[in-house]
C-alpha cells in the first residue's frame, strides 16, 4: 500500500477538518473526491507533511511519514498545489528550483515535454504565462525532482475546458510513460473516473466510501 491514514484527525483554528479518518491509497492512480470543504486538500497536505495530523498516523510505504527526513519525503512525494505559485524568473528558473535545492541535475526539455509544454518555453518569463501554462510549469518543476508520487490538488480547477482536457491528456500520458504514482484531489467525479483506478470519497472530513474507482464513482 502506498499510503495509509490511520484514525487521522486534524483541526484548523478550532474547526475540525478531518475526523477519525481511515483511508488507503494504493500504488498507481488514486483520486480523492468530495465536495468543497470536505477536507480533500488537507488530506493531501498530510501525505507529504505540509501539515501533521493532531492525532492518528500517516504511513507511506508502511512507515510513519514523521520517521522520514521531511525534505527528502517532499522531494519523493511531490505536491502540486491547486493554484499556480511560481517564483519570479523564467520557466527554466522555475523548473529547476527544487532540483537545484536538492543538488540534482534535471532535464529541462524532458520535464517540459512531460508536462505538455514546448521545450522553447524554457526562456519565457513565468509571469507572462497563461494560468494553464503556469499550471503546467508547476507540474514540470515537480517532475524535475523525479518524484515517485505526485500529489495533484485540483490540477484543472483554474482552467477552461480546452486546457482541462489537455492537462488530463498530459496526466494520462505521464502515467503510461513513467512509473510515478498519482494521488489526485478533485471535486469532479467524472475527471476522477477518467484519471484514476482507485478512489476515496470523503464527506465532512471522514471517508464515506473507498475502493475501485469504477465502483466508488459509479454515476
Amino acid at each position: 500500500m502506498l499510503f495509509e491514514l490511520e484514525d487521522v484527525s486534524y483541526s484548523r483554528q478550532g474547526e475540525v477538518v478531518l475526523r477519525d479518518l481511515e483511508a488507503r491509497l494504493p500504488v498507481g492512480a488514486s483520486a480523492v473526491v468530495g465536495p468543497s470543504g470536505s477536507g480533500k486538500s488537507t488530506l493531501l497536505r498530510l501525505l507529504n507533511r505540509l501539515a501533521d495530523p493532531d492525532s492518528g498516523r500517516v504511513l507511506y510505504e508502511g512507515a510513519d511519514v514523521r520517521e522520514r527526513d521531511v525534505l527528502a519525503l517532499r522531494r519523493e512525494v511531490c505536491l502540486v498545489p491547486q493554484l499556480p505559485a511560481l517564483i519570479d524568473g523564467t520557466v527554466h528558473d522555475n523548473v529547476g528550483y527544487g532540483a537545484r535545492l536538492a543538488g540534482h541535475s534535471f532535464d529541462l526539455r524532458r520535464c517540459l515535454e512531460l508536462a505538455g509544454l514546448d521545450p522553447a518555453f524554457g526562456e519565457r518569463d513565468s509571469a507572462k504565462l497563461s494560468v494553464g501554462e503556469q499550471q503546467r510549469v508547476m507540474l514540470a518543476r515537480a517532475l524535475a525532482l523525479e518524484p515517485r508520487v505526485l500529489l495533484l490538488d485540483e490540477p484543472t480547477s483554474a482552467l477552461d475546458e480546452d486546457a482541462r482536457g489537455a492537462v488530463e491528456q498530459t496526466l494520462t500520458r505521464l502515467r503510461t510513460r513513467t512509473a510515478i504514482s498519482i494521488v489526485l484531489v478533485t471535486h469532479d467525479a467524472a475527471q476522477a473516473r477518467r484519471l484514476s483506478q482507485y478512489a476515496v470519497r470523503i464527506e465532512a472530513g471522514t471517508v464515506a466510501e473507498q475502493g475501485p474507482a469504477a465502483e466508488v464513482l459509479a454515476a
Binding site: 525534505l71 511531490c78 491547486q82 511560481l86 535545492l101
Partner: protein, 258 residues
C-alpha cells in the same frame, strides 16, 4: 566645540502656538487627529523632561553602570514598541531584543574602539539613544513588511516547501525584501542630507553655537554609524524572526486557506 544655550519653560510654551496650528488644521479639514496631537504633545513633554533629568543624573554621577542600565532600558522599550508594528510576526519580541541589543553594542563598541567618540556619558548616552532609536525603526519596518509578505504569499511559500525547500529557503526572498524595506529610509535620507533637510544633531549643534564644520563632521560620523546599526538590526530581526513562521518540520504555522 559647543557653546551652551538656556531655554526656559516659557519658550517651550511659546512653541505650543505651532501645536495649536496643527490642531486647528486637523479640526478644520476633519482629519480627526486632535486627540492624537494632544496626547503626543503631553507624552513628549513628560517623556523628554523625565529623560532630561535621568540624563542629567547620569552625567553628574559619571557611572558606566548607569549608562549601560539606561541603554538596556531603551533596548527593552524599543523592542516592545517595535513588536506592536510586527503584529503578524509570531514571537517577534526575542528577535527584536537581540536585534536592538546587537545593533547598540556593535555600533557603540566600534565607535568607542575607534576613538570616534569618548567613553563618557555625555557622548555615549545620546549616540546610544540615536543608534537604538534608528535600529528600532528599521527592525519594526522590516518585520512589519516580513509579516505582511508571509501572510500574503503563503501559497507561494508552501508551494516551495512542497518541493523540498527548507523554511529558510522558502522565505529567503521575502527576508531580503523586508531587510531592504528596513534600511531604505535611512539610506535615502542619508543621500539627501544637507540638500533637502538638515539632520537633528547638526541642527542641535548649530543652535548651541558650535562651529559648522565640527557640526557637519559629527553628523557624518553619526549617519555612518546609524547606517551600520540599522543594517545590523534589520538583518538580525528578519533573520531570527523568519524562522518563527515555521514549525521545525518546515511547515507554515499559518498555512494558506484552501
Amino acid at each position: 566645540m559647543t557653546g551652551s544655550i538656556d531655554i526656559s519653560l516659557v519658550e517651550v510654551a511659546a512653541a505650543l502656538v505651532l501645536v495649536a496650528v496643527a490642531i486647528v488644521a486637523s479640526r478644520w479639514r476633519g482629519a480627526g487627529l486632535e486627540e492624537d496631537i494632544a496626547v503626543a504633545v503631553a507624552r513628549s513633554f513628560v517623556q523628554l523632561t523625565a529623560i532630561g533629568y535621568v540624563i542629567d543624573l547620569i552625567f553628574t554621577e559619571d557611572s558606566a553602570a548607569l549608562v549601560i542600565a539606561l541603554l538596556a532600558v531603551m533596548v527593552v522599550f524599543g523592542a516592545f514598541t517595535a513588536r506592536r508594528r510586527a503584529a503578524d510576526v509570531p514571537g517577534a519580541l526575542l528577535p527584536l531584543l537581540a536585534a536592538l541589543a546587537l545593533a547598540a553594542t556593535t555600533t557603540l563598541g566600534l565607535v568607542l574602539a575607534l576613538g570616534i567618540i569618548e567613553a563618557e556619558p555625555r557622548y555615549v548616552v545620546p549616540v546610544g539613544g540615536m543608534v537604538i532609536g534608528n535600529a528600532m525603526t528599521a527592525a519594526a519596518v522590516a518585520l512589519n513588511r516580513l509579516g505582511e509578505d508571509v501572510r500574503d504569499r503563503a501559497r507561494e511559500i508552501e508551494a516551495t516547501l512542497a518541493l523540498g525547500a527548507t523554511s529558510a529557503e522558502a522565505v529567503s526572498g521575502l527576508v531580503r525584501r523586508s531587510l531592504r524595506s528596513g534600511m531604505i529610509t535611512l539610506v535615502d535620507s542619508t543621500k539627501t542630507t544637507g540638500l533637502i533637510f538638515f539632520p537633528g544633531t547638526m541642527v542641535g549643534m548649530l543652535l548651541a553655537g558650535a562651529d559648522p564644520i565640527d557640526a557637519v563632521r559629527l553628523q557624518l560620523i553619526l549617519l555612518y554609524a546609524l547606517l551600520g546599526s540599522v543594517a545590523i538590526a534589520a538583518l538580525v530581526a528578519t533573520g531570527l524572526a523568519g524562522r518563527n513562521f515555521f514549525t521545525p518540520a518546515h511547515q507554515l504555522r499559518e498555512p494558506p486557506l484552501p
